[in-house]
Amino acid sequence: MRTLEQTTQEVLSLAAQHFQLAAGTLAPEDDFFKKLGIDSLQTLEMLSRIENHFGIELPDYEVQGVSDFKTLAERIQSRL
């Protein structure tokens, strides 16, 4: 079972890879909408990326209003 810290790091790494950013560019407290400037289609892509990586389903309504990686990782953790 992953720890919350491991999950957070994996989310940061997935996001950096997906948006082709250098490792270490993103931090747990970052607002990913502001930092990455993503639109609705990219949000869906990121959701797929996360679900495929962790082998979970993360309903959109559970991440609605979530804008930082740390809270996102908590939502993922509750589905692992």
């Binding site: 909408f33 993503i38 639109d39 609705s40 289609l41 990219q42 949000t43 869906l44 892509e45 959701l47 797929s48 990326r49 679900e51 495929n52 389903e57 309903p59 959109d60 309504y61 609605q64």
Partner: protein
Amino acid sequence: MKSFKGKTLRWEWRDSVVELTLDHAPANEIGTAMLAELETFVDAFDVLAPETSVCIIASGRNAVFSAGGDLRELYATAVAVASKDRPAGVRAFLERIHAVMNTIDAAPFVTIAAVHGACLGGGLELALACDMIIADKMARFAFPELRLGFIPGFGGIPRLKRDLGNAFVRDLLFTGRTVNATRAHAVGLVAQLAGEGEALRIARSTAAQITKYDAVTRATAKKFIKPIPHDELRREIELFCELFIRPTVMEALEKFVQSNDVMPYLP
């Protein structure tokens, strides 16, 4: 007409396979422009059918198969007329799109939706009219209509009910959430899963296999296993028009049109 290039889509016939590519910025919304060209496409079926085994429907746009009905156009059209006249305009559009979907559903050849990216609302309804969905593992599916105060109107619920169990149908409809391709495959919505960027290639390879079989047998099998739920489709148009006259709908559409939310499909 074996090839066509319009403003919202194009098609090309080659070796008994016709490929229809939706390519309408920004997200292949199905409004009057795409509807007119889809009508041109299905009108060509009589010419295409004798020499066609498979039709593949795909998207030429990044990260999206189709975001569904053109809600901005729907709102602009509805707001421009008196509220009592709105249902007539909506009904006319629905009758036309149902005719297109029914023709695709009953096409005398096998139809494959090669889906990547977002496949929402009317986009999912178009995919459901096809015989098979081959989905990129990054594809996502949803019926977000209830957030706007109406139901899917392009034949979505009857076709989803025809193919899948109630648990999934109700989850999709009542939550408006998007589901990933793996889940869609597990419940039987998606026939084959493709790696990233591979859905069209796998659809072509599947089409090449399908073309090997006898056309009459193939068409007979399709008719036998895929009846069109005509009564429920008619009922859907009536329910949509009944719901559309409620003020809730115009309020929700206005909010949607003005929204910059990154999850505009959720309330």
